[in-house]
């Protein structure tokens, strides 16, 4: 076994990992190349031929890796700093998660440009389906044995594979865009749904199915989401979600923006999550930069992130009940959200997309009187939550519409990569804030609400309870906000603390460089997973020693949640689908990125 060390980092931890030891025993030490990174989990390169065997071993070992957390690829052709790693033009990586072990492992497969093919892992992890389609779409890597390898995010008529390094990122690098009448017809033709292409039948024994195209513009699709339903009467025989209408190339933009100037883009990934989106990105960058953040900055981050969690859950609650046909609650939850936004605006200066976290801290210190404002919100919310529960969650019609509707078990949830409140509604106690505390969550006293049935009702109830717990966390932030700086005293803190910058020529120069050019991070890889509003969100960053990221991989929770819909929807009614869509709590920006 060889250990590649681009920098002297955490190689020792990984070596002692019992999973790695078991793998070495089973497949021999030569089968793997271990890569030392800042990712915080063992990273093993495996040969393409043994990939499926290794995945199966991990899937079937005692305390198995039962969730395919992420699967994507990197175009390595322009990467300068990859000493000691196997030769590779394109690297496909698999991140597996074991809930019982509370551990992760990352497998990487090196591919040559002339032979871009990997065996498909759909038979082991059903949610690999969409991930593999995404890799094909973005990199042109084919997956041997995939049931339906077509484009998923880009339009079917797209030429090229956008995340390849030789694919231009900006409109100015292309010829001017024109759309002729024929071109428009062709595009529209490409959007037509063809059941046979999906292996679906047009008719049953003695009847013909109706194919209902729901979306991408439909009041309950929560954004530009399309799902084609195969109906028998109002019963859903099968359905095919179609995504990509909200794709903006957030990962590609990460390769064109400096480490600092990318922060506002993260806000827009889960656009109801505000600064919660900054958190995994900033934490991953800080790992790369080696910055230790002050307690005050960490606590401010937690407080703002939890405030946005409440904000997002309130939006969820309003729209969830609206999807069940109750028109009034959404106006009440928006009143509450307005109160939250008043606090957010007073602290950050913005409302939906504050982009307020910075590498090494936050943008400004808390304003005078912030605690009074925040306390006002924390005092306001509990009686409102009680009212929502009494008026709606105890309502007979709501219960009848949601109880035992679209229920799935913990095993099914893990199999499909479901995380967050949707996973906890099945009774699985897996909350990263408890299991793998980050940003100081270990210092807070809160509980993780769990459901029992994993149905639409539990998904709603868990979120209401989560809001209460978030209020508890915010209350602790108000009571025990640490003193100190809101930014770390570190050369890579961007931008550097302003008072120092005004006094100190070195800091002034650094400030100028970091704002005009961008901070330069050492070559390495890092990743941070957080418990975001809708599930586990992670940023996997690869630095090639530049001002920009070499590869930014954003793993969002909503993507697998949507992929799971057909698996749980078959046999349900159209109104159940609408209730389920409401209970998933997704935003399309979080799916398509």
């Amino acid at each position: 076994m060889s250990v590649a060390t681009p920098n002297d980092t955490t190689a020792n931890d990984a070596q002692a990992d019992p999973v790695v030891v078991a793998l070495m025993q089973r497949f021999g030490e030569r089968a793997f190349v271990e890569q030392a990174t800042l990712i915080g989990m063992p990273v093993l390169w495996v040969a393409r031929d043994s990939l499926i065997d290794v995945l199966r071993f991990l899937r079937e070992m005692p305390e198995p890796f039962n969730m395919l957390f992420d699967l994507s690829a990197t175009d390595e052709r322009l990467r300068g700093n990859r000493q000691g790693l196997p030769d590779s033009d394109f690297t496909v990586f698999y991140q597996l998660l074991s809930v019982s072990r509370n551990r992760d492992i990352m497998l990487k497969v090196a591919l040559a440009e002339s032979d871009l093919e990997v065996p498909s892992s759909v038979s082991l992890y059903p949610n690999a389906n969409w991930y593999e389609r995404e890799v094909w779409d973005m990199f042109g890597v084919t997956f041997h044995g995939h049931p339906h390898l077509t484009r998923i995010l880009m339009p079917p008529t797209w030429m090229g594979h956008p995340l390849r390094k030789d694919h231009s990122a900006r409109a100015t690098e292309f010829d001017p865009y024109t759309l002729t009448v024929e071109g428009q017809d062709k595009e529209q033709q490409a959007l037509k749904f063809d059941p046979e292409a999906w292996g679906m039948r047009r008719g049953g024994e003695d009847s013909e199915f109706m194919f209902l195209n729901l979306g991408p513009n439909h009041p309950s699709a929560h954004g530009a989401f399309r799902i084609v339903l195969q109906l028998e009467g109002e019963e859903i025989v099968d359905c095919v979600p179609d995504i990509g209408y909200h794709h903006r190339g957030a990962e590609k933009m990460g390769e064109r923006q400096s480490w600092h100037s990318y922060i506002p883009y993260t806000d827009r990934v889960d656009y109801t999550g505000g600064v919660m989106n900054n958190l995994p990105y900033i934490l991953a960058v800080e790992k790369l930069a080696g910055i230790t953040v002050t307690d005050r900055a960490r606590t401010i981050r937690v407080m703002m992130a939890e405030l946005f969690r409440i904000n997002s859950h309130l939006l969820f609650l309003g729209t969830y009940l609206q999807d069940l046909g109750a028109m009034t609650p959404v106006f009440f939850t928006f009143t509450d959200r307005q109160k939250a936004y008043e606090v957010i605006e007073a602290i950050t200066g913005f409302r939906m997309h504050p982009a307020w976290f910075r590498i090494g801290g936050v943008a400004q210190d808390l304003p005078k009187g912030w605690d009074r404002l925040m306390q006002g919100f924390v005092d306001w919310m509990p009686k409102r939550l009680a009212e929502y529960e009494r008026a709606m969650m105890e309502n007979a019609i709501v219960r009848e519409r949601t109880r035992n509707v679209v229920a799935y078990s913990t095993a099914e949830a893990l199999e499909w990569g479901v995380t967050g409140p949707n996973l906890r509604a099945t009774g699985c106690n897996f909350d990263l804030r408890k299991q793998r505390p980050y940003s100081g969550y270990e210092n807070f006293d809160f509980e993780v609400p769990l459901g029992g049935n994993g149905d639409v009702f539990d998904r709603g109830q868990v979120r209401i309870e989560e809001m209460r717990q978030s209020l508890r966390i915010i209350q602790q932030c108000i009571d025990h906000m640490p003193d100190g700086d809101y930014k770390a005293d570190h050369p890579l803190t961007t931008p550097p603390p302003r008072d120092k910058m005004l006094q100190h020529i070195e800091t002034l120069i650094t400030h100028f460089l970091q704002v005009s050019w961008g901070p330069v991070l050492k070559p390495n890889e890092s990743q941070q997973m957080i418990e975001a509003t809708k599930g586990i969100n992670s940023y996997y960053l690869t630095s090639d020693g530049n001002t920009m990221s070499y590869r930014t991989r954003i793993r969002t929770p909503s993507f697998p949640h949507l992929q799971q819909i057909p698996a749980v929807m078959r046999g349900g009614f159209v109104p159940d689908l609408i209730a389920h869509l409401g209970s998933i709590d997704f935003v399309m920006a979080d799916v398509d990125r």
Partner: protein
Amino acid sequence: MSWWTPTVEAAFIAMLQALVILLGAVLLGAVMTVVERRLLGLWQDRYGPNRVGPFGTLQLVADMLKIFFKEDWIPPFADRTLFVLAPAIAMASLLLSFIVIPITPGWGVADLHIGLLFFLAMAGINVYAVLFGGWSSGNKYALIGAMRASAQTLSYEVFMGLALMGVVAMAGSFNMREIVNAQEGFWFVIPQFFGFCTFLIAGIAVTHRHPFDQPEAEQELADGYHIEYSSMKFGMFFIGEYVGMVLVSALIVTLFFGGWHGPLLPPIVWFALKTGFFLMLFVLLRASLPRPRYDRVMSFGWKVCLPLTLVNLLVTGAVILLVSPQ
């Protein structure tokens, strides 16, 4: 002026009355659209339309102007004849039902001795509007909406009629005026409480008002059977729904709450007050309830409401037989 005989005068007055009542019904339906939005605003912590005219009272004028001047568009894939016919049926059948409603002792369009049956017949015809609209639109959402509407209306009309038979038995007549007059001492809502409950539910279901608005369920079918309609054709469906609300409220008042009867105030005021109360109830229901699933609505109708009305009718009949002299 030899032609101006008392007969002609009576006919002229009757026509004028009919015109006032029918126009009044349409206008009330139109006003209800704005009133509903204001009331929903009040109950939902917001203002509602409050910009046009004092307190938003002229919003209706603005809406009307807008909808009259919109392009009257018929989708190329629609069945034109049925498509045009549907909104006309929707409006006409509900308006025609109004002729049997006695508003005051002196006011009313027609005094049919089968008044109640006439209303039930018109309500039956109303289904065709939805069915034609949904079918002719050539749209799957509209089709599902129409399917739901016809299934729902069919099942609810079964016991809507039965729910009223208790009233008919007690008044001994299908004539609306006689029914009102029979309530001089006490309102039929007391002896016919279950009849009232089931009729209220059926009335909501037949007018497709929330929580029985499955045929148009915005969140599911994105407006259902009238999804392809625009301009005044949509307007007729839309106003038709509110006219239906007014009609059902007026019927409830007539059949169960003593019509124009009431102390002190003139009959017309009593009638208006009672009808207004039920109109508010319609709006409040919409503001407060979620929407049950469509198959549950059907099973509720068949398994709860229908047996209830039958039992109610049996008990009413038995009591009448017991009490009556022979």
